[in-house]
């Protein structure tokens, strides 16, 4: 296993809540710059694993090395090197677009000038310069999600975790969102994403599928379709998770 090639390395990771085993000996790795789809049914243990990988929760046993740091020993260093966004919570509704950028940039210790420059850059790219002083709550969900993604990668993290970033987003914006993901990954950022849209599973370079706390399958979408002798990722998912 060469260091440098891998940005996430998970070995025999177990997480228990009392008698319940939420993560049952997970073993997998994610390469630098990869778009990795982390799939599974509701309750399969995805959120638990993401919390561990982002330094918010400690494993019961096993190890996870994220961006070069052991999540158990150096959770704060892990947090500094990752970005995170979810559908449920990402930006503050009662702050403007610009204030959200400034707030998150500040949290990550970025200099004012740098925040300003990067905010301008991102808003230009999203064609949203005219909305920088608008309150977040006035902005439609799809646009909000694109902003949230930009905020999550503002501090140039090595990895960005996206937890169902496109739920309820219209089909055009959903695709624009994925173009942002591609662009970011081609710049070297690793993208770790969960989704219930199985067409989006196809957009990932590799995916894993969890069921009842275990990773039941991992590989490129093409490999998994081949292995299960089906035509779409939807069918792969149903074969594994049902």
């Amino acid at each position: 296993m060469k260091q440098g090639g891998q940005i996430i390395t998970v070995t025999d990771l177990v997480k228990k809540f009392g008698q319940f085993t939420a993560n049952d000996k997970l073993n997998f790795s994610v390469k630098k710059g990869e778009i990795f789809g982390f799939l599974g049914a509701n309750g399969a243990g995805k959120t638990t694993a993401i919390k561990i990988l982002s330094g918010l929760s400690k494993p019961s046993s096993g190890t996870a090395i994220v961006a070069g740091f052991d999540v158990k020993k150096y959770p704060d260093k892990v947090k500094k090197n990752i970005g995170y966004m979810s559908q449920r919570f990402s930006l503050y509704d009662d702050m403007t677009v610009k204030e959200n950028f400034r707030f998150y940039g500040g949290i990550y210790g970025m200099k004012r000038k740098e925040i300003k420059e990067k905010t301008a850059l991102f808003l230009k790219k999203l064609d949203m310069e005219d909305y920088r002083n608008m309150l977040l709550k006035k902005i439609p969900l799809g646009w909000k999600q694109k902003l949230a993604f930009s905020v999550a990668i503002l501090h140039n993290p090595k990895i960005v975790f996206l937890d169902e970033p496109t739920g309820g987003v219209d089909p055009i914006t959903r695709r624009q969102f994925w173009e942002l993901i591609y662009e970011s990954a081609s710049g070297g950022t690793t993208v770790f994403v969960t989704t219930h849209y199985m067409d989006e599973a196809e957009y990932c370079e590799r995916v894993s599928i969890m069921s009842e706390g275990r990773i039941e399958a991992i590989g490129t979408p093409a490999q998994l379709k081949e292995k299960y002798q089906v035509k779409t990722m939807d069918e792969v998912f149903i074969k594994i998770a049902r």
Binding site: G40, A41, N42, G43, A44, Q87, Y131, M134, K138, I139, P140, L141, G142, W143, E164, G167, G168, V169, D170, P171, I172, T173, R175, W178, E179, Y182, S186, H196, Y197, M198, D199, E202, Y203, P221, A222, T232, M233, D234, F237, I238, A241, R242
Partner: protein, 309 residues
């Protein structure tokens, strides 16, 4: 027993935002009707008007001949409503939630057991568990049981499958088809375009407007042009490379391929133009497979691409 739903010129606004713009729809008794559209389409506002929770700014609507403004109390007696966000009491158990909803409608689980039996047996092992401690799929089944407990003639489900995994979504639709057979009119909203195919008829909705209303089959039949599913050795740059090709319309990623549409009528020359242009940009192993449109293709074609805030 099931009831028809009529919607005439319904509009609704919140301050300056027009949530619904002159909506007209006739839903037949016993129909499984889908409202397909993203967040902000107006689906929830329409459902709230039908259940008498908010008033339309203009227009009229009725459920089984009952007016949504004047007869809302009667409508509620015959309607089961499963809102998107909240419908269960998290600090009550499964059994308590069911009892609570049953008592509101002066009925009991026993009285209408045959209707909810299929769903109820799946949650029965957890009947003493608090609703807040259930998994997402189980919560959804309990909420559906609660919405059905008074044997409604109209069932309204607001995004019941949002955030739900592909397997649970399939199971939920199987349940809905069963419900429909017991003679209930069902209105269901969803942001998942693939679920449209499971409805009798659908309305595609965006920004408070109906983009199309018909059977899923008729909507896809009306798609203008021929769709090709494209594969090459460079899938990442394919969309951008195609967007710079004048002949290609409607360029969108669809799972492991990219869909493009030929509108010229001459599919063979289209094929040649696209292939040549992509080869020039360094693509090889180019595959173009002619394909029927799906609902998402139609939605993308109908969507107002210049949407503004």
């Amino acid at each position: 027993m099931s009831v028809p739903v009529h919607i005439h010129n319904i509009s609704k606004s919140y301050e300056k935002v027009e949530a619904l713009k002159d909506i007209n729809l006739e839903i037949k008794a016993g129909e499984l009707f889908g409202f397909i559209g993203p967040d902000g389409a107006g689906k929830t506002s329409l459902f709230r008007i039908l259940t008498g929770l908010i008033l339309p700014r203009s227009g009229t609507a009725s459920v089984g001949g009952l007016d949504v403004v004047n007869d809302f109390k009667k409508i509620r007696q015959i309607t089961g409503y499963m809102p998107g966000r909240f419908s269960l009491y998290h600090d009550l158990t499964v059994a308590e939630n069911l009892d609570f909803y049953a008592s509101i409608f002066k009925t009991s689980l026993k009285e209408n057991y045959d209707l909810i039996k299929d769903i109820y047996i799946q949650i029965e092992p957890f009947r003493k568990r608090k609703a807040g401690d259930l998994s997402g799929g189980m919560k959804q089944k309990l909420a559906l049981s609660c919405a059905l407990i008074h044997r409604p003639e109209l069932l309204i489900l607001d995004e019941p499958t949002t955030g739900v995994d592909a397997v649970s979504r399939k199971e939920f639709w199987e349940l809905l088809n069963k419900m429909q057979q017991s003679g209930i009119t069902i209105l269901v909203s969803t942001p998942y375009m693939d679920e449209a195919a499971l409805c009798n008829r659908v309305a595609l909705m965006q920004n408070g407007k109906l983009l199309a209303t018909d059977t899923p089959k008729n909507i896809t039949k009306r798609y203008q042009g021929q769709i090709f599913a494209l594969h090459t050795n460079k899938m990442h740059s394919l969309v951008i490379d195609l967007e710079n090709t004048a002949a290609a319309a409607q360029v969108y990623r669809f799972g492991d391929s990219v869909h493009i549409t030929s509108t010229s009528g001459n599919d063979e020359s289209f094929r040649q133009i696209i292939t040549a242009s992509l080869e020039e940009k360094g693509h090889s192993a180019i595959q173009m497979i002619a394909q029927q449109a799906v609902i998402e293709d139609c939605f993308l074609a109908l969507m107002d691409k210049n949407q503004t805030l």
